[in-house]
């Protein structure tokens, strides 16, 4: 870690932040978030189409593949504002699938799929497995060669929005090493999907049983670059989870402060009591730190070494910040905080999802220790 951490903010980031702030606030008021919890799909396809039309799916894809040619740094403010408005849907998974393809996809695959992904084709990642290991290199699902065909087997977990994704990026063990393969959902056998019951009810997560699925070897990404692609996806995902958590932390704190400003007990607004005031300040200060690390990570993301360090710090800090803010949000709402109607639970459930994807804070710090000490 360089002793002097740097941060910067591009004109494009500023514009996207402004647009995304308004868009997400208008399209995803809390009533909408709650109504989508009851919806099987879990997100609004009309809003998805609007996001595609805004070009958000194309942000970090080069122009030659139908993208805008910016980077992950410019995706960050968008996802931050989605997190602020508690939006859900396949935006992040589609962005990540495109990123994996950019690292290890063949030219044919990039030509074939990336323009579609920029335009609104939905993709998702099937990288996790029942063992629950955060190490994406730990792959037990297998692919066996049969001529030009790969026969897949095993079970993938935490596959977001698998029911509506057109394309799945699946990790399998092939010839004794991890490999990535593109699988169109239509190639999955009947009954391959089972919706998982997950703590964040705004999300849709599926188990995918690969047994019986076959795919042409043309679907294989460049196996020499599998490790690089997995590392890149892991860091991109960590960066965007940090963004989502920062956004959520900001609105969670606002939500709690609102209550502290209005609820009265013993004849006084409860926000005047220091037992509540000081911890919410600590939550706010934690969020401010996390946000600084987020935009540091965005700014440095493409830098060898420093990018990984800044991203892992961002993930650790955002996780700790949202977790604390949301935990206190429940407590500070008192009896109301214990009800389903109080939004505090939405934030806490979301933080438990986000923290436990791609490594929690302690895991990130252990990785940082290996990198820095």
């Amino acid at each position: 870690m360089s002793k002097k951490a740097t941060i910067g903010f591009s004109e494009e980031q500023a514009q996207l932040l402004e647009v995304a702030t308004t868009f997400c606030r208008d399209k995803s008021p809390i009533e909408k978030v709650r109504s989508l919890i009851e919806d099987e799909r879990g997100y609004d396809d009309a809003i998805w189409t609007e996001m595609a039309e805004l070009g958000w799916l194309a942000i970090a894809v080069p122009e030659e593949f139908g993208g805008i040619g910016l980077g992950m740094a410019e995706v960050v403010p968008v996802v931050e504002q989605m997190g602020h408005a508690m939006m859900a849907g396949p935006f992040v998974s589609t962005t990540l699938a495109a990123q994996a393809m950019l690292v290890s996809g063949t030219d044919d695959q990039k030509q074939k799929y990336l323009p579609g992904l920029c335009a609104g084709t939905k993709a998702t990642l099937a990288l996790s497995e029942p063992h629950g290991d955060w190490d994406l290199g730990h792959v037990e699902c297998t692919a066996e060669r049969a001529g030009d065909t790969l026969k897949l087997s095993g079970r993938k977990t935490f596959v977001e929005n698998a029911d509506t994704a057109d394309l799945l990026l699946v990790s399998v063990s092939l010839d004794g090493a991890p490999a990535l393969v593109l699988l169109e959902r239509s190639a999955l056998p009947e009954g391959a999907l089972r919706r998982e019951v997950v703590i964040d009810e705004t999300r849709r997560s599926y188990q995918v049983t690969l047994d019986g699925a076959e795919v042409s070897t043309e679907g294989l990404l460049d196996s020499a670059l599998t490790a690089a692609a997995l590392t890149h996806v892991d860091l991109c995902a960590s960066l965007l989870l940090s963004a989502e958590m920062c956004g959520a932390a900001a609105s969670c704190i606002d939500y709690t402060v609102d209550y502290l400003q209005t609820r009265k007990q013993f004849g006084k607004k409860i926000g005047s009591y220091q037992a509540l005031k000081h911890p919410i300040v600590d939550a706010h200060v934690g969020y401010e730190q996390a946000r600084s690390h987020l935009y540091c990570a965005a700014f440095n993301f493409t830098q060898q070494g420093e990018g990984e360090v800044a991203t892992r710090i961002a993930k650790a800090q955002a996780g700790d910040a949202l977790s604390f803010a949301a935990d206190r949000a429940i407590q500070f709402h008192g009896g109301f905080g214990f009800t389903y109607d109080c939004d505090a639970q939405l934030y806490r459930r979301r933080s438990l999802w986000c923290e436990n994807q791609h490594g929690d804070a302690a895991y990130q710090r252990a990785k940082l220790a290996d990198l820095l000490l």
Partner: protein
């Protein structure tokens, strides 16, 4: 403003680097204070006063303050470079902290031209040491309730009462003083006035306070019918609270305008890594212990938080939700961080964490132990961390007053 060429800046940096390499004496043979609140002996005081004067005369302090009052009249970029080179050479602290960082910017900001001419140069050169008379024995966090009296008598003001935690009070020529000029004002704040008071006056006495470390650095100041000139009043009578609040903005780093250099040497988590290599756990370096590693990384992250917050503070789109937030929380974050960092450095040492300064077997001459005890001066002084949380809660989050 004319644009400054990269060459001008790099030439300035080269000159500054050479000057500090040539002139810095980081080890004069006795312990140098890590902060301006730890100047406990005449030896330390004289050394640091000479050092500040030398830096000023070389043009590396106050480089961006107006030339007409004794500054260098250059762009702030030059001073930033000078300060960086001072740190790179491991230079000792600037002594006259209250003058440089609080009284000086305040006088430039709100003072009259005459006050600027009278005081600024002596602040920079360390000829005139300044101290601060805000806290009182009975009024610490509740600063607005200050009871030290200033009563007009002819052209003079007559002072009675007592101030406490007067850093370098025994060396000071001037004090920025908050005193009550009207006990019958409609509210406690309206009765206060602000003075640039001389200290070497009959009736003003300073008594050293022994700190928790056993050392000195602060005094209690007693005023007994002390007579100061009428023009010591800064601003208008009854506007003392306003001026004091502005002073606190400088003190807490909420407002810029300081002349450069530094008045505290922060411990660095990277130095603690060295300590973790030396200390042992179960026969192995403490640095190999996974719990220690986790804590170290956490502290390194927090050190970065401080840097990044101050940088993000300049990026307008990233602070527009709550514009005052980062500035108002920096004091709380920085001082609490230093306290915990030093505390961790002690626990890291295992049994030897119980040694103290003076024990030959203490790690790093016991500096972590002393730094930890001294770190409370910052978490308490200038508004305690608890007061800071009230300020952030009320002024940033908009919570009702406690």
């Amino acid at each position: 403003m004319s644009t400054i060429s990269e060459k001008e800046l790099s030439d300035f940096r080269n000159d500054a680097a050479a000057w500090f390499a040539e002139n810095t004496n980081a080890d004069p043979g006795f312990m140098l204070p890590l902060t301006f609140m730890e100047v406990g002996t005449d030896q330390q005081f004289n050394f640091l006063r000479d050092w500040q004067n030398k830096v000023y005369e070389a043009g590396y302090l106050g480089a961006a303050w107006p030339k007409e009052y004794g500054g260098g009249g250059l762009d702030q970029k030059f001073q930033t470079i000078a300060t960086e080179e001072m740190a790179r050479a491991n230079g000792p602290i600037m002594l006259n902290a209250i003058g440089l960082n609080w009284a000086g910017p305040l006088i430039l900001d709100m003072g009259t031209d005459e006050e600027r001419k009278r005081y600024i140069k002596g602040i920079l050169s360390a000829e005139d040491i300044w101290c601060q008379g805000f806290s009182e024995p009975e009024n610490g966090s509740d600063l607005g309730n200050a009871q030290t009296k200033a009563v007009r008598d002819g052209d003079d003001w007559v002072l009675n009462g007592s101030k406490i935690w007067t850093t370098q009070g025994n060396y000071a020529k001037y004090m920025i003083l908050l005193a009550r000029t009207n006990p019958d004002a409609p509210n406690k704040y309206a009765g206060l006035s602000f003075f640039l008071s001389p200290m070497q006056v009959e009736g003003i006495e300073t008594v050293p306070i022994r700190k928790l470390t056993g050392e000195y650095g602060f005094t209690q100041t007693f005023f007994t019918d002390a007579r100061i000139p009428g023009d010591s009043l800064m601003g208008k009578e009854g506007e003392g609270w306003l001026v004091a609040m502005r002073t606190l903005e400088y003190e807490r780093g909420v407002k810029g305008g300081q002349p450069g250099g530094y008045v505290m040497r922060a411990s660095d988590p990277f130095e603690i890594v060295e300590l973790a290599r030396k200390a042992t756990r179960g026969g192995k370096p403490a640095l190999e212990d996974p719990v220690i590693k986790d804590q170290l990384i956490q502290l390194m992250i927090e050190a970065r938080s401080l840097q990044l917050n101050s940088k993000r503070g300049h990026i307008q789109p990233l602070v527009q939700d709550k514009p005052a937030s980062l500035a108002l929380s920096s004091k709380l974050m920085a001082t609490e961080f230093m306290r915990r960092l030093n505390e961790f450095a002690i626990t890291l040492q295992g049994q030897r964490g119980a040694y103290y300064v003076g024990e030959p077997d203490a790690y790093d001459e016991g500096l972590w132990q002393r730094a930890y005890l001294n770190s409370f001066s910052a978490t308490i002084g200038g508004g305690t961390s608890q007061i800071q949380r009230n300020i952030i809660g009320e002024h940033v989050l908009g919570l009702p007053k406690s």
